[in-house]
Structure formats: structure tokens, C-alpha cells
Symmetry: C2
Subunit: 228 residues, 2 copies
DNA sequence: CGAGGCCTTGAACAAATTCAACAGAAGTGG
DNA sequence: CCACTTCTGTTGAATTTGTTCAAGGCCTCG
């Protein structure tokens, strides 16, 4: 496995892309690599913010607790993505948790050094600001959908966006390993409802299921529900 | 009314606060002041982003359309707040609209100059990034609440946050002029439901109503519904 | 191989929306 | 200034959507 100086060889990792060259050695000194097992929490809601993570390889769900048995998945993240940036700001506690959906590798940068990076690398700070702007837009769009779109549309939307983000395996199934439970948490509903609605979609011929794996057969039909 | 160089005398306006002194004259050249009537849109969803606004005086709702008769109010903003920052990013169209809830004064800065400001004023860029981080946290919290909290809790929450943000008039009523329709759009429900639930709250003695004006009598009782 | 978690299904239930109807307030235009 | 229209507020009843409860089967992991 090829790695560059600071342990990350991914084009999509904007930390790599945007830091000035002369900063990389310092970055390399300060980063730490971690392995995270499936189901393991990288950080958890309410715990103190110690730094920022970048996903080297793997998939994570970022989720926010409601009651003991209810949560909302706020974001799904994969290779190259930043994690823990919600810890920035006045509050020193993470407002969300991050859990690995598969065995993953991450790179950790402590908060102090991350902030120094921001000070020195204007371009990085600018991109980070833009990234936040994008996330905010996305979040507010999902918020509106959660408020007004019926469950079927939200599930259609979720499937389409997962399809777009994670692509498909060779045999056409969406390349992510997400339980129905998680899909429910992602769409703000219950797993029973997810199950029922996905069955409907299979009846309609827009979806094919094989165990927990999902294959989108008819994008148009899903789009009808998802709107726009 | 005292104004500083660029037409804004508010402590809470972080553009004023964070720009370097030598930048202010340039800022002054580029800003334009606008009056906005009650009910008038400052910018509307889908229209092209031309620049950034700061509220000099007044109140705005920032809202996102769903169908013709449904929307979600994403944010309420008052004196000193930034508006239109959701227009930053790759997309060149506003993802939301902003409508004045009362006669208001705003200050406009065209996008090109705003971006120059970001390049020159590191501190401002940093604060803007942090501001976005805060907004994102807030948004995701609201998203979770929308997904899992029953309507009564969401209304309680909304009232409490409006109380905190806008304060009260001399006679104790929340100092904002929001229709039930808008309150419904803010909490992601219908105006009939808002009405019924607020009646319940009056019965319980946690609220007093006088026309469209709302007075919180018992913060604790509301908090019971709002959780946390 | 046992236990716990996840999937599957049906039926009862509840929360909130929709529909309908009217009263009052606020604005509009002659 | 008054009639008219439109918007907001108020209320009850019907309806729908989605949740909750319950229970059995399956799969996986230790």
C-alpha cells in the first residue's frame, strides 16, 4: 500500500491537497494512524474534542443520539473524508458520534496542530469554510425533506444518494454495508417501515434485494418519489 | 443614529468587528444600504448569488420551499446577522430565500469584493468558518429533533429559542412578529396543529397568548417537552 | 451450539394531517 | 368610506401515515 509523507495517498483528501508543501513534514510528525474495527466508535457524542480525523480507508456513519434506542444518522463518510470537524467551534464536546461500518483506517491530527495548520494554510482554511458551507446546504435540504417529504420519498432519496456516493459492486448492488436499522436511522423512521416500503419498491420494480444488499433497478421511479 | 465607516454600528456584526482597520475604507466603497419592506424578499431560492448581506436593523426569516404551500423556515435572523452566506460554495444559486418579517435595513456587499475580503482578512475567514461550523451543529440538532421529537416538543423548543434570541417586550411577550403559519413552518408542522398545541400549553399554564403575541410563563414546563 | 441481534410480518394504535367551515382582521380598490 | 377579497386564526371530524407492539424465523458470531 502506497502512502505519501503524511500517510494519506488519496486525491479526495483535501488536507493532502491543500496544505503547502513545506508544511507536510510537520504534518507528518503530528499525524497518527489508527485502525478502527467494524462497529467501533471513533469518537462519541459528548466526549471532549481532541482532534480531527481523516478517513484513510473505510466507511463511517456519523450519528446523533436521541433516546437509547433512537438516533439519526447525519452523514455517511468514506475514504478521504474529514471526520470530527463538527467538534470545531466554541463547544469543546463532539455533538455527534462516528462509528465504523467496516474495518477502517484513519489518520488523526490533534486539535492544536490542526489549528496551526489552519493559520498557516490559507487555502486549506478557505476550502474548509467552503466545505462547511456545502455541508450546511446539504443539511438544511435534508431537514426540509425530513419535515415535508413522506417516508417513501426519503428512502428513495437516501438510496439514490448512497448509490451516487458509494457506487455499486460488480453485480450492481450499492457498495455499502448498512443495516435496515441504520437505513431507518438515516431516513428518520423505523426499521419496520423501511422494510415495508422497500418491499413496495421491489413490487414496483424499482429495486432488487438480496439479503441486506440493495440494487437500484429504476432510477426514474425512485426519483418520482424523491422529487426534484 | 451613529454609524461607523461602513454603515454598521453593531457589535454583533462580525464583518465590522473582524476586518482589519485598513480594509474598512475599501469596504465602505463597496457596501450598499437597502431598505426592505415587511414581507419583501431580500433574495429568493434559485436566483443567482450576487453577494452577501448583513442585517443592519430588522428581522428576517430564511426559508426553503417545499411545495407551493409548504416551506421550512431554516433560520430566524436579526440585527447584526449575516444573510446569504448559504450562497457561498460551488453552487451559484441561493438554496434558500430570505424574507423580512418587519421593515428592515440591510447592507449589501457584492460577491467579488466579499471574496477579496476573505482573502485579505484571515481572522474574518476564520470566524466565518467557525460560524458555519456552529450553524451546521445547530442544523443537525434541529434535524434530529425534527425526526424524533414530537410536535409539542418542537414547538416548545422553538418558543424557547425565540425567547432566547429575540428577548421580550416590556410586557413580557416574545419580541418577534411571527404568524402561526410561520411558526408552523419553523417547527415543520401545520398551523392547525400549532394552534391546538399552543392551546394545550395555555391550559397547562406554561404559556399566555394575546392575539399573535406569545408570553412564556413557565420555562421549566416547556423544557420538559423540549428535553435536555 | 446457544444467544443476541437483525429481518419479516400482521394487527392495533396514535399522532398529526387533511378537510371543511366559519369568524375576524387586514388590506384593496372603486 | 364601504364593499370585497384575501389572509390569518379557530375549531371539529374524518382520515392517513407511520409507529408501536407482538411474535416467529433466520443468521451470525463468540
Amino acid at each position: 500500500m502506497k502512502r505519501n509523507k503524511h500517510g494519506c495517498d488519496l486525491k479526495s483528501c483535501f488536507l493532502c491537497q491543500l496544505c503547502s508543501k513545506d508544511w507536510l513534514p510537520a504534518l507528518d510528525t503530528h499525524r497518527q494512524s489508527f485502525h478502527v474495527n467494524k462497529g467501533e466508535m471513533l469518537f462519541s457524542e459528548g466526549s471532549e474534542v481532541t482532534g480531527i480525523y481523516f478517513i484513510y480507508k473505510g466507511t463511517f456513519k456519523v450519528h446523533k443520539k436521541w433516546t437509547d434506542d433512537k438516533e439519526l444518522i447525519v452523514r455517511l463518510a468514506k475514504d478521504g473524508a474529514i471526520l470530527g470537524h463538527r467538534g470545531l467551534g466554541n463547544d469543546i464536546y463532539y455533538p455527534v458520534s462516528a462509528t465504523a461500518l467496516e474495518p477502517s483506517e484513519v489518520c488523526f491530527i490533534d486539535l492544536g496542530f490542526f489549528q496551526s495548520t489552519l493559520k498557516v494554510n490559507y487555502q486549506f482554511l478557505y476550502e474548509l469554510m467552503m466545505f462547511f458551507a456545502g455541508e450546511l446546504k446539504e443539511s438544511e435540504k435534508r431537514m426540509r425533506n425530513l419535515a415535508h417529504m413522506p417516508v417513501k420519498g426519503r428512502i428513495a432519496q437516501a438510496l439514490l444518494s448512497m448509490h451516487a456516493k458509494f457506487g455499486t459492486t460488480a453485480d450492481g448492488f450499492i457498495d455499502i454495508n448498512l443495516s435496515r436499522q441504520d437505513l431507518a436511522s438515516y431516513t428518520g423512521t423505523t426499521y419496520e417501515t423501511v422494510f415495508r416500503i422497500m418491499n413496495e419498491m421491489v413490487q414496483e420494480g424499482s429495486l432488487a434485494l438480496q439479503g441486506k444488499h440493495i440494487c437500484i433497478l429504476d432510477t426514474n421511479k425512485l426519483n418520482e418519489h424523491a422529487g426534484e
